[in-house]
């Protein structure tokens, strides 16, 4: 049944330890799971790790377009699970990185079409071939969430500093296996608004969620520009947000990383924009 997954990888391989399967989840939609998956995966691959990104959002495929790989996708997750294509046919190599791969979601299918057991076996197979398997979880807590979590051993919670996102993140943490210790990325923080007391701070968010803080990503216009172009910011050496993603990757890889700086920048476009929009409260 599983032969399709067990084909030898591109080279005869030595016995390697299984990679880590990490699900990126949030409960609420639109908080930046897919962007986070793309950037953290890109940053991990830039460090030399072998990384595969699995889009588990069946029916609402987006990871391919965020990575700029939409034209290269021929087969998808369900093709592999249903043995209509081999894993090697379905894995799309990233344009920029030799060691980053994407397994796209099916766009015209439903989340209920995924068999949890098969999904688990697939992630297991991917772990044998990659150092990191990052699973981009769909929003919600139904079948799609369960399938995305099934094969993982670790979770990253993406949460924006909004009441709805924090509440949903709290709920999702409660649904994860008891022995997991999910880590938190606070996304779209606007330090200037926090300084003015108009936005929940990282401490506010994590005072409620109480998770190990993996990183903080500021709400920077460049993130939108990068997504427009399909070029993850993680590779932009000049971008502060890119640096924040790289710091997250380093932390995942086990490096000691200083705590993220969440103070408002004193100059620069981000600050100006922040004060422009900040007046709305």
């Amino acid at each position: 049944m599983m032969e399709a997954f067990e084909q030898p990888a591109e080279s005869p391989q030595a016995v390697r330890p299984l990679g880590r399967a990490i699900v990126i989840t949030s409960g609420k939609g639109g908080v930046g799971k897919t962007t986070t998956t793309a950037n953290v995966g890109t940053a991990l691959a830039a460090r030399g790790a072998k990384v595969v990104l699995v889009d588990a959002d069946v029916g609402l495929r987006n990871l391919d377009i965020v990575l700029g790989l939409e034209s290269r996708v021929k087969y998808h997750l369900l093709d592999v699970l249903e043995e209509k294509a081999t894993l090697d046919d379905a894995l799309v190599r990233d344009k920029r990185s030799e060691s980053l791969y994407l397994l796209a979601a099916a766009q015209t299918r439903e989340k209920e079409d995924v068999d949890t057991g098969l999904m688990k076996a697939l992630i297991e197979t991917l772990r044998a071939r990659f150092d990191y398997v990052l699973i981009d979880c769909p929003a919600g807590i139904e079948m799609g969430f369960k399938n995305a979590v099934a094969g993982a051993q670790h979770a990253i919670i993406v949460c924006t500093p909004e009441v709805s996102a924090v509440r949903d993140a709290d709920r999702v943490v409660g649904l994860l296996p008891n022995d997991w210790r999910p880590e938190l990325i606070v996304n779209r923080l606007r330090p200037l608004l926090v300084k003015k007391g108009k936005m929940l701070s990282v401490d506010d968010v994590n005072g409620i969620l109480r998770l190990p803080l993996l990183g903080v990503i500021a709400d920077e216009p460049n993130v939108i520009v990068a997504t427009n172009r399909g070029e993850p910011l993680a590779l932009d050496a000049l971008s502060e947000t890119g640096a924040a993603y790289r710091a997250i990757a380093a932390k995942i890889a086990g490096e000691d990383v200083p705590a993220p700086d969440v103070r408002p920048a004193s100059t620069g476009i981000f600050n100006k924009l922040g004060s422009l929009f900040g007046k709305r409260g």
Binding site: E162, R167, G174, G197, M199, L200, S201, D204, I208, L209
Partner: protein, 200 residues
């Protein structure tokens, strides 16, 4: 018109603080509604403690949680059917039986006795369930750790609202704590928390 005026001239609290407080409250109720087993064991312990002092009708007892403007309150409605005289009546129930109360614990039966007899009287007259002892406890961040349970006949605010940050405990953590709290209360047997709040 005044509202309009206020809107412009009264400094509102920063919306970030409002968000934080709203979240704290909503997560408190979320967690309580998500953990029926914890609420059930709280109810069991609560009834056990109260039945050491008065005879109650556990079947009619009702413990609920209510969202209020600034906190979440636990409301306990527990019909009292009779009075125990401490030192004479031993609890017939298989509830954790209190050892002789520590010396420092005093017990004043009169308010409870009053309410109990009143409750019975009303029950006879109206056929309604007896006037229950009503407890109203505002929930502090970690409600299930709060040990104080007042057994007075009136609505009793036991603890002032704490300013501590909200506890977004996950279910397992809560369960562990609740178990510990249950153990503690079983060991502490009765009085101290009860008495502390009754005298306060």
């Amino acid at each position: 018109m005044i509202d309009f005026f206020n809107k412009f001239f009264r400094p509102a609290p920063p919306s970030g603080a409002t968000a934080k407080e709203r979240l704290r409250l909503v997560l408190l109720s979320d967690h309580l509604s998500l953990a029926p087993d914890v609420v059930e064991s709280l109810k069991r312990d609560l009834l056990a403690v109260i039945s050491r002092y008065v005879e109650i009708d556990p079947a009619q007892a009702d413990v609920t949680f209510e969202r209020r403007d600034h906190d979440v309150a636990m409301l306990a409605s527990i019909p009292i059917t009779g009075v125990r005289r401490p030192g004479y009546d031993e609890s017939p129930e298989p509830t954790p039986t209190p050892p002789p109360a520590p010396r420092s614990v005093r017990y004043d039966a009169s308010p409870v006795a009053e309410s109990a007899s009143r409750g019975v009287a009303i029950a006879e007259k109206t056929q309604a369930p007896p006037d229950p002892v009503s407890l109203e406890l505002p929930m502090t961040p970690d409600p299930l750790l709060s040990p104080a349970v007042a057994s007075e006949s009136t609505s009793t605010e036991v603890e002032p609202k704490s300013t501590a940050t909200s506890a977004a405990h996950r279910r397992r953590r809560r369960r562990r704590k609740a178990n510990a709290a249950a153990k503690r209360s079983a060991q502490a047997q009765s009085g101290p928390p009860l008495n502390a709040s009754a005298q306060a």
